[in-house]
């Protein structure tokens, strides 16, 4: 089966909607996810987890579990011979971060429901679960705190006694004269915007298969970050990185939740070394809801000042972020990500973000699709609508009044961030070609008599992605203990097909197709002749994996550069053979030919033959056709767009139905527009999910109420409309491809768009502002309250 190439239409594969090279194995059930991989002699692992949100471990009795048939070992913290716990990678210059130890198995106390206290390893997947039930743990319950604002109050129960506080740190970023800005304002509004806790909820649960043998460790994990996992396995287990191989096989979705170094990954590898046999663990969904990291969970106090005519003069956001009980690899680095784009798409002269991070007895938060930017876009765009209402302005007029003018070569915001390129007016204009707000108003008044309240909401957003310039993100900049580059190797085979090794690690995005299109263009071959290898630390050079919408703008650019190096060598070989100058060799119709003499030329296969077999090359040139690139971008990239949503709210029940969702996104040049659309559909759905349905909810005693898909409501096909999507293309000046990122954009825009639509629908009922999730109950209660009644 080959890809659809439609060869005659265009010379370039980049820019074409091509169906995916990955799909044949996926649609036929032939792909290999972690659970599908089995090794001879493998053992199974199960974890004994705390039912208490906060407790001292009085005793652990493993004897009954150990006595069961087929159980090889039951481990507790006392057995662990590891010097350090799970890593946290943010060391911001000049800021002290209170970071607790986070052991693979709890030491002395448990801090959240699901905290692992014992690891059971045995022969059979059912038997280890039985044995885990037989481990008897006695707990002495301690006081629990689950509300971040209460956690920061004097006298609150402490999650970690040793800090004497639940405050993790404070962190601020801003620019411009805030005081003067507010003094100048005619109108100041303040809102408390709650961005509740959500789950990534990839449909493939996490899983690990660890095999330590002959002094070498191989780990298969459902991870977005095989390279980071290898590094930390090597450090925590004291094995040379050269002897650790991590493979991310087929990965069934991540959405940030698999950008992590998890206890189960380290623990299974440790146990495999201890027992000398492979150890496998597959997460259940109930475990996943409990101990796969969550996202968001912040309370935002937003204050904005504006002139009567709508000109914004000052913007202040105070973020109270609930980090949970421990800090995982990026936990405290996520809320600050909001601050970099707190200007949104507006020329606000003074913008400041102050963040206070708190510990509570809940599982840690970390990066979930958008990671800080959905929170920023939500608070900015919801408050923009609130401001418009306060000023008596049309929300779109207010936005247009404050848009940053179009720019193509950089725009520095007062925060000091340089947006790469933008044309916000054009995206909004394009959106309004698809949807007419006046028409929606007409429909709304017709529906009113039936008790249906139709509303329309908008969002004009930008975000920051493409991690990232190493100096900006690294130890001396933002403070992450890593760089932001990416690698690629292009290896042309003697018969003229090619393999690209990328350091990025996809989990559904379609790199095998998109990256092949980029390389194919540069080598004059069909994308079906370019195999893309990823997710294996033993193949290709080191890489920095996939998150933060970075793969294309960093990894794709690296692939392009490596392919260009191969093409440059090919031109020299062709020039040598055809007695021309390398500068006169051009790639045309799949051949490296002499400019002006298209009959004189060589295909990539012929060039490869020269480089590997006949050695007909310039004097002194090395054999082979294999090039590598490490690319470190000069800046982040800043996608943007304009979204609209039409909703119907049932005035009796509070139920919301999405009537239309229209998205115009600008992610720079689109390599494969079909993949871009797919990312927008999924991203928007995740934002809709947060706005209307999804919520990770702990009760006051720290019990997880939404522990399965019965209680945590992912949107289904029945709740959603078909989406209407369009794009504008404003190339990024940062990379030669002109690309930005699109993996998170839909999510970043959607929660505000839907919220604004629902609030617009509710306004005639006297409801001005409520927070997500906009469940029927919350809406119904708000309606009753506005009527002056007391909600039941």
């Amino acid at each position: 089966m080959s890809t659809m190439t439609n060869g005659a239409a265009s010379k370039s594969y980049v820019g074409r909607a091509m169906r995916r090279k990955e799909d044949p194995r996926l649609i036929t059930g032939r792909a290999s996810y972690v659970e599908d991989i089995n090794l001879t002699g493998q053992l199974w692992a199960a974890w004994v987890r705390s039912p208490e949100a906060h407790a001292r471990i009085v005793s652990i009795d493993t004897s009954a579990a150990n006595a069961r048939d087929g159980i090889r070992a039951v481990y507790t913290n006392e057995d662990l011979d590891m010097e350090a716990g799970l890593p946290m990678a943010w060391v911001p210059p000049g800021v002290t971060v209170n970071t607790p130890d986070h052991w693979v198995l709890a030491k002395g106390e448990v801090k959240h429901v699901g905290d692992p206290v014992a690891l059971v390893v045995g022969d059979d997947r059912y038997a280890v679960v039985d044995a885990a039930e037989d481990v008897v743990v006695e707990y002495e319950p301690l006081s629990v705190v689950t509300d971040p604002e209460k956690a920061l109050e004097e006298g609150s129960p402490l999650v970690h006694e040793k800090f004497g506080t639940n405050k993790v740190c404070e962190w601020s970023l801003g620019g411009g004269d805030l005081e003067a800005g507010f003094a100048e304002a005619d109108v100041i509004i303040e809102r408390r915007v709650v961005n509740h806790r959500v789950a990534g909820a990839a449909i493939e649960p996490r899983g690990v298969l660890a095999d330590f043998r002959a002094d070498r460790l191989t780990v298969w994990s459902s991870t977005q970050v095989p390279h980071f996992l290898r590094l930390f396995l090597a450090i925590l287990l004291g094995i040379g990185e050269d002897r650790v191989r991590v493979i991310a096989p087929e990965v069934g979705g991540g959405f940030g939740s698999k950008l992590q170094i998890y206890a189960e990954e380290i623990g299974c590898a440790w146990a495999s070394r201890k027992l000398g046999l492979p150890v496998k663990w597959i997460e259940t969904r109930s475990e996943g809801m409990m101990v796969t990291h969550h996202g968001r969970d912040q309370i935002d106090y937003v204050k904005v000042g504006a002139k009567r005519d709508g000109t914004i003069t000052a913007w202040h956001s105070k973020i109270i972020a609930d980090l949970g009980a421990y800090q995982m690899v990026l936990t405290p680095a996520i809320p600050p990500s909001s601050a970099f784009v707190m200007c949104g798409v507006y020329k606000t002269p003074a913008v400041h973000t102050d963040i206070v991070m708190a510990m509570t007895n809940k599982f840690p938060t970390d990066a979930i699709r958008g990671a800080g930017r959905p929170e920023a876009a939500h608070m900015i765009e919801v408050v923009m609508d609130q401001l418009a209402h306060e000023l008596g302005m049309d929300p779109l007029d207010l936005r247009r009044k404050n848009f940053i003018a179009p720019f193509s070569e950089g725009h520095e915001t007062p925060i000091g961030v340089v947006y790469d390129s933008g044309n916000y007016e054009a995206a909004l204009d394009r959106l309004l070609e698809h949807i007419d707000p006046a028409q929606v108003r007409v429909e709304a008044s017709a529906l009113r008599e039936r008790g249906i309240y139709r509303g329309i909401g908008f969002c004009t957003y930008t975000e920051i992605c493409g991690n990232s310039p190493s100096k900006g993100v690294g130890p001396s900049g933002f403070g992450l203990q890593c760089g932001g580059w990416e690698s690629a190797t292009v290896r042309v085979h003697p018969t003229g097909s090619a393999t690209l090794y990328t350091g990025t690690s996809p989990h559904g995005q379609g790199h095998e197709t998109g990256f092949a299109q980029i390389v194919a263009d540069r080598l004059g071959v069909d994308p079906s002749q370019v195999e893309v290898i990823h997710g294996d630390t033993q193949t290709g050079p080191s890489g920095l994996d996939t998150y933060g919408s970075r793969s294309l703008s960093v990894g794709g650019e690296a692939a392009s550069r490596a392919a260009n190096k191969v093409a440059a060598k090919a031109r020299e070989i062709v020039a040598h053979q055809l007695e021309a100058e390398p500068e006169d060799i051009e790639l045309r119709d799949g051949r490296f030919s002499v400019r002006g003499s298209p009959d004189k030329g060589m295909t990539l296969a012929e060039v490869a033959g020269a480089a590997y077999v006949t050695m007909e090359m310039p004097e002194g040139m090395e054999p082979g056709l294999n090039e590598q690139s490490f690319y470190d971008p000069s800046n982040w990239v800043f996608p943007f767009g304009a979204h609209a949503c039409v909703v119907d709210v049932d005035g009796e029940t509070g139920k919301v139905e999405i009537v239309r969702y229209v998205a115009v996104d600008d992610c720079g040049r689109a390599v494969n527009p079909m993949l871009v659309e797919g990312q927008v559909h999924g991203g928007v759905t995740q934002g809709i999910g947060q706005a209307l349905y999804e919520r990770i909810h702990y009760d006051d005693s720290g019990q997880l109420v939404t522990g399965t898909f019965v209680d945590y409501a992912l949107p289904t096909a029945a709740e959603l409309p078909s989406f209407e999507t369009d794009r504008t293309e404003t190339p990024s000046p940062v990379n030669s491809l002109g690309v930005k990122g699109v993996g998170e954009a839909g999510t970043i825009a959607a929660s505000a768009t839907v919220t604004n639509a629902v609030l617009d629908a509710l306004r005639p009922l006297g409801v001005d502002f409520i927070n997500m999730p906009l469940s029927p109950m919350r809406i119904w209660e708000a309606i009753q309250e506005a009527k002056g009644g007391v909600p039941a």
Binding site: P24, G508, T685, F709
Partner: protein
């Protein structure tokens, strides 16, 4: 290992004689005993549908069936939906329409869609959306899945729909 019982599973037209614990889930027997790993597990509560297969031509969630309950029943999994080297019209449509991203929900989604089309060969968009509400996808927002199912239903001359015991393409 606890006590086992014999069970005969007829999967994709091939008969398999197994000894399993009475509590063994059908999905685990298919995956772990028979190596048919195209059928996936995504939840513990029968919500996600990643494990959907056909039993006697009807789409069922194989995580909610014990292996012993499938004794003697004609089963079809994603591996048996189409004959060797050919694609079922739904598989072709999912590929053409970008109806999948990470692919984890896809086998279950395709088997559920085949069950749906067997009962309703020409569904409306709304019928497809409601017909697939027992299958969760986190990547696609369902837009292209719904499109693919409608396209497969409209594919001229295609035999889509449910299967019966290793006879791919036979409409129930």
């Amino acid at each position: 290992m606890s006590q086992t019982v014999p069970v005969t599973l007829n999967v994709n037209g091939v008969e398999h004689h197994l000894d399993v614990e009475p509590r063994t889930l059908l999905v685990h027997a298919l995956r772990d005993n028979l190596g048919l790993t195209g059928t996936h597990v995504g939840c513990d509560t029968s919500n996600c549908g990643a494990c959907t297969i056909h039993m006697d031509g009807k789409a069922v969630k194989s995580c909610t069936v014990l292996a012993v309950q499938a004794d003697g029943v004609a089963l079809t999994t994603i591996e048996g939906l189409a004959s060797e080297n050919e694609l079922h019209p739904l598989q072709e449509a999912f590929w053409n329409d970008h109806g999948l991203q990470c692919g984890y929900c896809t086998p279950g989604m395709i088997m559920a869609a085949a069950g749906l089309l067997a009962e309703n060969p020409n569904p409306t968009e709304e019928e497809v959306r409601h017909g697939l509400e027992g299958n969760l996808c986190r990547c696609t927002g369902y837009h292209n899945i719904v499109k693919a199912v409608l396209d497969a239903a409209n594919a001229k001359g295609a035999t889509v729909g449910a299967t019966s015991g290793g006879q791919p393409g036979v409409t129930a």
